[in-house]
Amino acid sequence: MNEPQSTSCSQWEEKLAALHPDDLSPIELDALKAHIAECPACEAMLADYYELRDLMRRTLTTGYTPGIWKLFVSPQANQDIPPAHS
């Protein structure tokens, strides 16, 4: 993680926080890229946001073994699941 004192420019904060590919228009994305190229604080903040996103994904999936799907294929479990409304 980057040093805590690096603060981003307030007018770019919401765009920096929009990490989904559909969140920003191509024009907005180009403008953001141009700004980041000149602003180390915003660049550092964006890098941290991506790092935290990746860490969050790793952390929250750790230790989980998928098995709920078996409820819908196991004949015994089928008896416990209510029928879908038609």
Binding site: E14, L55, R57, T61, T62, Y64, P66, I68, F72, A84
Partner: protein, 194 residues
């Protein structure tokens, strides 16, 4: 084409016609994501597992109410989210799980585990410090992969509000995580000097 290679809307249509195998494939595709989202929201892995199961059972039972098969994923996460919020409303203790997590200080409870485990514990604690609505937005985007527009539609607020929440959530998460990281480094340094 084998059934597991079909896209979600096709499988949803099969499942609507009573095909449990098609629904099981949908569950396989989404259960990891739903579990991760619920773990982040609830702060309790066992509880998240139970809620994930409930989510899929409820989705199966209400599949005919899904108006557009292409919207299965947001519809599914909305079910998960509603189950948690209903639970919180009934229990009135939506901070409790996280508080119990906070009691176990990262450093005090983990003498000498690997750096990666420490990072993950700090991240869970930093998430716990976020107000529920900020935590919800950042999880829906980062863990579930929804855009701002999709989140706005799921939660029932404006896109601008989602943007504000996401920005606040990321700033707060970063600040809290950095503070914990610094405290951990200091504590580690103290232990080395003792």
């Amino acid at each position: 084409m084998p059934v597991h290679q079909h896209d979600d809307p096709y499988l949803v249509k099969c499942a609507c016609a009573g095909d449990k195998e098609a629904f099981a494939i949908l569950v396989q595709r989404h259960e990891h994501g739903v579990y991760s989202y619920l773990t982040g929201l609830l702060g309790d892995r066992e509880e998240a597992r139970d809620f994930a199961q409930l989510t899929f059972i409820k989705a199966w039972s209400n599949l005919s109410r899904l108006q557009d098969a292409a919207h299965f994923k947001p519809w599914l996460y909305t079910i998960a989210r509603n189950l948690v919020y209903d639970f919180w409303r009934k229990q009135k203790f939506h901070q409790q799980s996280w508080e119990s997590l906070e009691e176990s200080s990262v450093v005090a409870s983990s003498p000498g585990p690997e750096e990666r485990t420490i990072q993950m514990q700090m991240l869970e604690l930093a998430l716990a410090h976020l107000p529920a609505k900020l935590r919800d937005c950042i999880l829906l985007q980062d863990v579930c992969g929804f855009s701002r527009r999709e989140i706005a539609s799921m939660i029932g607020i404006g896109v601008e509000s989602v943007s504000t929440y996401l920005s606040s959530a990321r700033k707060l998460l970063r600040q809290t995580y950095q503070r914990m990281e610094n405290e951990y480094e200091l504590e580690k340094g103290d232990l080395v000097h003792e």
